[in-house]
């Protein structure tokens, strides 16, 4: 089975939303350094943040790949 990722544009929007959820979780632990805020920041906060950056890298990587493919296809026509 091949995993079908949404188009890059959607992927990046998802990444933005994930990061916007992760940032407050991380900042919350600074203002309330007790067990749950700190633990959630270090787990869920970090996790979502990392995932959002990974999505970004995937999207950019895929775009680059497509561009390169297009470039090699176009060249013989020059």
């Amino acid at each position: 089975m091949k995993l079908r990722l949404p188009p890059s544009e959607r992927l990046l929007r998802i990444a933005c939303v994930l990061a916007l959820a992760a940032l407050p979780l991380m900042v919350w632990s600074l203002f309330d350094p007790t067990v749950w805020p700190v633990l959630i920041a270090l787990s869920v906060g970090q996790g979502l943040g990392t995932l959002s950056f990974v999505l970004f890298l995937v999207a950019v990587g895929r775009d680059l790949h497509v561009q390169r493919k297009l470039a090699t296809r176009i060249r013989p026509l020059d």
Partner: protein, 210 residues
């Protein structure tokens, strides 16, 4: 540290919100912005928040944030308490980190081991102690392994002449140094947390007496 974390989070959030609101197609420029908003600034936030978070796990406030640790934390904050834990909390060297200073693992991998031990505590708290009333937890929660005298000896070396002149120190020197006789035991300096020992005491080597 905190302001750096908050500022970078705010910058990242601003970039992301702008990206979400402007429904334009993604260009090279917007990717650079997103690299900032999804990569550079959040990583700054995470890094600084991590440092602050790990720092926070050493504070008494953090230890006291599970309700079963409230009796320990309150006693340490009580200026009139004569318990070992409280007298050490009044010293600036311990202060807000007094739980950590006594209870941390002083070995080479001490920091990591202490954190792993702490995770175990959190797990046990969630699974067993979260709803336990304080009156019960005071007797039910006991130290897994006796707190090693070696921890005390990081500061009280057992080598100082005045220390050695104390008759009880001199007569028990060997068993103090090898940990057979806990410094924090009934006949010696008393328990570090006497308010939890009503009913279920520890033996003189610091182990749970059965």
């Amino acid at each position: 540290m905190e302001w750096a974390s908050v500022t970078s989070a705010a910058i990242a959030a601003a970039i992301l919100v702008v990206h979400l609101l402007r429904r334009r197609s993604v260009t090279g420029t917007s990717k650079v912005w997103l690299l900032m908003g999804l990569g550079v600034f959040p990583i700054l936030t995470a890094g600084t928040a991590n440092i602050a978070g790990f720092e926070a796990t050493q504070s008494r406030k953090f230890c006291g944030s599970c309700h079963v640790m409230i009796p320990h934390a309150e006693d340490s904050g009580d200026p009139k308490s004569l318990s070992l834990a409280a007298t050490h909390a009044r010293n600036e060297y311990f202060g807000e980190k007094n739980c950590y200073t006594c209870h941390k693992d002083y070995g080479m991998y001490g920091y990591v081991l202490t954190k792993l031990g702490g995770m175990r505590h959190v797990y046990l708290y969630v699974t067993e102690y979260r709803t336990m009333p304080l009156e019960e937890s005071k007797h039910a929660i006991r130290i897994l392994k006796p707190l090693p005298n070696a921890n005390c000896m990081h500061c009280h070396t057992t080598n100082a002449p005045d220390w050695l002149r104390v008759p009880d120190h001199a007569s028990s020197l060997a068993s103090v140094r090898d940990g057979k006789l806990s410094c924090a035991s009934a006949g010696c300096h008393g328990f570090a947390h006497p308010m939890t020992k009503l009913g279920k005491e520890l033996a003189s080597d610091g182990r749970i007496s059965r």
